[in-house]
Symmetry: C2
Subunit: 482 residues, 2 copies
């Protein structure tokens, strides 16, 4: 790892000016061209996988298997967005023909790129949520140049990935200024406040995200800041589910909260379990075999035991079990407490601890459970393990109010990249109503524009009659798919 | 006009609690039910039109003809949103079936109401952008209870409209807590910061909107604040257009900037004209016949001459002409300056003045024009008057970058309420990428939620197979319209 040279303000001015020059070219690029640019990046990542994974493993300690899989996820994500661009629904083409009787003019609406986008990458997914990750892919797909602020946890990988992306775009014919990388916290702060930047994507901590959110909203001309900040991801297990499949649930839970050394944003951090169901014993048993590992950075490594100590500092919390000891890494930990304690002190007991730890919360009946659920902060996911015949309507309504994805009979750590995925939720899970994973992530970087009574030759290509007829569109209120 | 009793904090607690109780009922209501509630409000407004217009005319001085038309626009808007709810695209139903090979789970996504919405009403459209206006209609259509902060400019009308809305909803079977009205600036500030409120809509000044935007974003759990703040609405006239139809353009311009006594948010406030085209003389001539009138409030009445004086305070600005004198109201005013002066001092020369005044800006060639256009702030609209054969690509690109609606050969003051309308633009026109007029205004008050591997009986009604098949939806990437 070489020392990170912070990007200067003068350099940011140069990079944002180049991005501003590239923006109209990205906006005007037709679907085939823009999809080609996205696929060129995907192909380049796949071509360079060995080299990139070697650097990533050295900087993140996540291991080759996981990292190779993550490169595949990242190139797959770029290819999904190429498909989204070609499919064309994302343009939301809408025409209302002129109405001679009322004198209403002709209106043609489409979505178009907002302009240069700032992306702040995460530490825990050095490919999928980093330099060429989902924020970058969706911002480019929307027709915008991107400037990424590298995460300090993997600087060499960030630089090498940026080179691969830049070379791929150049070779594919994308304009100069399409993509750039900056480094340093102050540089990131300057970037989100730069007049040329029109929107920002972020994945990281509540503290870091809130600071950037405040900078984005404090601008003379505020911009949209799409942050994914923090998530406790509640799980509820009903008494009948615990009785019917307690051992399997315990094994599943341990597998989920220790996946990626507990560093997934969808890690189940709090699990509501029926008291006296024997489920605690099953979890305590299952965790003994669980292996931990090295955490991503020294800062996260230091914060992990401190976070556990903070929870154990509450007299209501006890240590239920630990995983296999590790010499240098984090050992998985299961804690336990009561629902009444969570209801009384949610800020301490429901604080997110990054790493392989989860908190079991014993509840006595629905009233006890629901009071505690009302104290759960907004999350990316909420999971319900119940059996047919369980009365779960009220519990489900509470989980729905607190999360963007509600799971049944599974675990939240996997996040499929599809058309329907939603990876977002009420604050602090995300700072907006939008997703950062899946096809609709493209929405974040688009703005509507409508043309009134425009002569055909002055319309953007996608809004001319022949283009509209070939793509999903709405005309005079009627949605049509060609 | 009776004295406005400010709503207390305790009253706001009661109203927001009732709204929170009503929220799940609105969310769960099926399309027919929710559309019925919207149409009930529309019908009630039409039924009470005489009484409402009488109060409105007394409080706003806008005249019966305009006000009757505005009631029709408002009830029509509610009916459009009823249609939007029934059509069902707004739900964005999306299903990805489980994939046994990859182990990918089933995902079903829909949009759902965010929860109780705060609406801050405007002074200049006492029906269409007030108590039962577009923000209220779109928030209800999305499935959310609404609490409106009345504009102090028409308190009696606000109260009576709120009674009509409340009675209509009650008679139609909507739950208690569906709708409420509050009064007073401090009450409004408390409302936007109240934990129960999940989003806010606003139409008004840059100063007032920015203050509320900052409160919404400064919350411990920030909420989306959809404000429409201010707009200068640039118009560009090319030399050939001025030569070909100067007199008609002058008449059209005067009609547009004096419409509603110049109190439209889409009023053309700055008009770029070719120097020496004789167009100035045409405008000076056309304005002499224009009638002014009384402005909405005493504050606006006082601010109007002050705004004109501020413009005339610049040595580059001259008075070009005035409309017909009025005894008590505002007299239409046309000012003129040079493009170079605008480029040099945009903050003063492009300040929005509410009322019947516009500023002609003479330009010498495209370079001069484009430099000034780059200084134009974000606007709701931008208008280009050109002739076939004019080279306008660069000018058009600048206008597109500055506005959400680009008009050709018309005037911006009319805003059709349709599926394709976009009434929004870069800051300060709006605080978000969304529209406050037209079908897609509903988007602002919806959040996505996805269900993973849910048993059919625990899915929301709209996400079950039979409902999906009957509505526009995407399944495994393919968009289908039944």
């Amino acid at each position: 790892m070489t020392m990170a040279p912070a990007t200067t303000t003068a350099e940011i001015d140069v990079l944002t000016a180049a991005a501003s020059d590239a923006a109209p070219i990205w906006r005007a690029a037709d679907a085939g061209e823009r999809a080609g640019w996205l696929r060129a990046i995907a192909d380049a990542l796949d071509t360079h996988i060995d080299e990139l994974v070697t650097i990533a493993d050295r900087e993140t300690r996540l291991g080759e298997t996981r990292l190779r899989g993550e490169v595949g996820r990242t190139s797959g994500q770029l290819r999904l967005f190429a498909t989204v661009v070609e499919e064309g629904s994302y343009l939301e083409l809408t025409v209302d023909d002129a109405d001679a009787v009322s004198g209403r003019p002709e209106l043609r609406r489409q979505l178009t790129g907002v302009g240069p986008v700032a992306v702040f990458s995460a530490s825990n997914f050095p490919f999928a949520f980093s330099v060429a990750g989902g924020d970058t892919a969706s911002a480019l797909a929307a027709g915008n140049p991107v400037i990424v602020k590298a995460h300090s946890g993997h600087p060499d990988l960030s630089r090498r990935t940026a080179e691969v992306v830049t070379e791929a775009l150049r070779a594919a014919g994308a304009p100069e200024g399409s993509f750039a990388l900056i480094e340093g916290r102050e540089a990131g702060n300057a970037l989100v406040q730069h007049p040329a930047i029109q929107a920002a994507g972020f994945t990281g901590s509540v503290t870091g995200g809130r600071a950037l959110f405040d900078l984005a909203n404090g601008r003379p001309d505020p911009i949209a800041f799409y942050g994914e900040l923090g998530s406790i991801n509640p799980v509820v297990i009903t008494p009948t589910a615990a009785a019917a499949r307690g051992a399997a649930l315990a094994t599943g839970l341990v597998g989920s909260f220790t996946l990626g050394v507990g560093q997934f944003c969808t890690k189940p951090g709090v699990v509501f379990i029926p008291r006296d169901a024997g489920f605690e014993a099953s979890v305590a048993e299952a965790v003994t075999d669980a292996t931990g590992g090295q955490l991503l950075t020294d800062r996260i490594t230091d914060a992990f035991p401190a976070g556990i100590d903070a929870l154990l500092g509450s007299s209501s919390v006890e240590l239920l079990g630990r995983g296999a000891p590790t010499e240098t890494g984090a050992q998985p930990v299961v804690l336990a407490t009561d629902a009444a304690a969570v209801t009384a002190d949610p800020e301490v007991l429901l604080a997110e601890v990054f790493g392989p730890v989860t908190l079991l919360v014993r509840y006595d009946g629905d009233d006890d459970l629901h009071a505690a659920l009302r104290a759960v902060p907004g999350s990316l996911t909420a999971t319900l393990h119940s059996e047919e015949g369980d009365e779960v309507a009220a519990t489900l309504a509470l989980l729905e109010s607190r999360a963007g994805r509600v799971l049944f009979a599974g675990w939240p750590t996997g996040v499929a990249v599809t058309w329907s995925q939603h990876h977002g939720g009420p604050w602090p899970a995300t700072t907006s109503l939008h997703t950062s994973v899946g096809a609709t992530a493209i929405r974040r970087f688009l703005r509507p524009i409508v043309y009134q009574d425009a002569p055909a030759h002055l319309l953007p290509a996608a809004l001319r009659n022949e283009a509209i007829a070939a793509l999903p569109h709405r005309r005079n209120g009627v949605l049509r798919v060609p």
